[in-house]
């Protein structure tokens, strides 16, 4: 009984986390999720440099970048997206309010990214052709979310 109460309290607490964090924590969450995007860009840059032929293919370096990319894509990012951190409510973000109105779709697009990153982790150390193919799918998953949910 006590356990059950604790569980539902925890659930309620996490659901209202957005409201509780409102204020300075909104800014922190926006910076943190932009940091996550920067990490994506960094590891994609290593993989993409090889895919484009700007850097020589290096299986070990590619594998390390892909493993890290998958780790970043596997974070539970729920607390990075509190209510009230959209571009109409907060400064310094291009996140459209539509994100908070379409959670199932956002979740599906996020899952697609994790799955594309997992494919990259399998492909990156295999050979350059496999890396190139996985890169295309990854780009598609980035674009799918930005198309619908990132403003200017």
């Amino acid at each position: 009984m006590a356990n059950k109460l604790l569980t539902s309290l925890t659930l309620m607490a996490s659901m209202t986390a957005g409201a509780a964090f409102a204020g300075g924590h909104i800014e922190g969450a926006i910076k943190a999720r932009q940091g996550q995007m920067q990490l994506y860009a960094h590891y994609l840059g290593i993989l993409g440099g090889m895919a484009r032929g700007n850097a020589d293919y290096d299986a070990a370096a590619a594998q390390a970048a892909a493993d890290n990319l998958l780790a970043v894509a596997s974070l539970n990012a729920g607390s990075l997206w509190p209510q009230g951190s959209d571009m109409d409510s907060a400064e310094g973000t291009r996140a459209k309010a539509a994100i908070w109105e379409n959670f199932p779709d956002v979740g599906a697009k996020s899952m697609a990214l994790t799955s594309a990153a997992a494919n990259m982790a399998t492909a990156a150390g295999t050979d350059l052709d496999a890396l190139r193919a996985a890169m295309g799918d990854l780009g598609g998953t980035c674009g799918a979310c930005h198309k619908a949910y990132r403003g200017r």
């Binding site: 994506y40 291009r94 295309g136 780009g139 799918a144 930005h146 200017r152």
Partner: protein
């Protein structure tokens, strides 16, 4: 006195005649479509290069391999909100019943089979120079797509912009069909010019517009601001410091040189451009990089 009134009356009639003459809906030369054999396989490339699906699928619909061109997306502007029509092959709700010449008049002249002007939210000013062969190939490919029964939504446009005949005057002022870049020294640049200035209609978003909505071709591709879309970046070398390889890779993958990824309307463009042959993306990049 009677003479004076007669003179005024005659002048007014003359004015009306001139107005109706200069605003009359234009027609393509139907002879240029005689004897062409449509190739739907090539038409698919034309379709992706022209980006038809991005605007003509239903709101939020995925494009996929066989897009349903049911229409219904809203396009806000300073003159009202336009709704993309159904251009699926349905013979009643769509354009399945149109001949090649009717299709050409719509795409190149902005004129419906009933002889009405379309609003320039439809980029027919860019499309005016599509080759007749590309046009019949495009129609042949679109005829292979699924039919949709959705009726067209009326545009939400107030007077005076609701008076379509006046669009004839707009076309006269802003429908200039000369190439923006008149000198192309290689076949690749010529192909790139065709893809950017015509099929890709890049200038429709990346070139600023004047108060009447005409493109400021002197500021070609130097960036603009779009209602509902926000700031659109300039893409000339003086505005954007990307190599031709960077541009081609962006159009293929959506990744910028710093591995940010395309968003908003440009993500739709990348989705289309990624389906083109690599030479076409390279040609676009060569053309853009050759601009001042």
């Amino acid at each position: 006195m009677g003479r004076f009134i007669r003179l005024i009356f005659a002048l007014a009639l003359l004015g009306l005649a001139v107005f109706f003459f200069v605003t009359r809906p234009g027609q393509v030369d139907s002879a240029s479509f005689d004897g062409l054999t449509p190739d739907p396989v090539h038409g698919k490339d034309v379709f992706h290069a022209a980006g038809c699906a991005s605007c003509h699928v239903a709101p939020k619909a995925e494009i996929g391999d066989a897009p349903v061109l049911a229409g219904g997306q809203a396009f806000p502007s300073d003159f009202g909100t336009f709704y993309a029509p159904n251009i699926s092959p349905d013979p009643v709700a769509g354009i399945g019943g149109w001949s090649a010449v009717e299709f050409a008049n719509a795409v190149q002249k902005g004129v419906s089979p009933a002889g009405k002007h379309y609003y320039p939210a439809f980029p027919y000013v860019s499309y005016a120079k599509i080759t007749p062969q590309d046009l019949v190939d495009l129609k042949a490919f679109m005829d292979t797509l699924p039919a949709a029964g959705e009726a067209n939504m009326p545009h939400d446009v107030g007077f005076p912009f609701s008076y379509r005949r006046a669009l004839g005057g707009w076309k006269l002022l802003f429908g200039g069909s000369d190439w923006v870049v008149t000198d192309v020294s290689t076949p690749e640049l010529e192909r790139g010019r065709y893809l950017v200035e015509v099929l890709g209609h890049c200038g429709e978003c990346h070139t600023p517009r004047n108060a009447l909505g005409g493109l400021d071709r002197a500021a070609w591709l130097t960036g603009s601001v779009l209602p509902g879309e926000g700031k659109v970046p300039g893409i000339t070398p003086s505005e954007l410091d990307w190599s031709p390889e960077d541009i081609a890779y962006y159009l293929e993958s959506g990744f910028t040189p710093s591995f940010d990824s395309a968003g908003g309307a440009m993500a739709h463009v990348v989705e289309n451009m990624s389906k083109l042959p690599a030479e076409d993306r390279n040609a676009i990049a060569a053309y853009v990089a050759s601009l001042p």
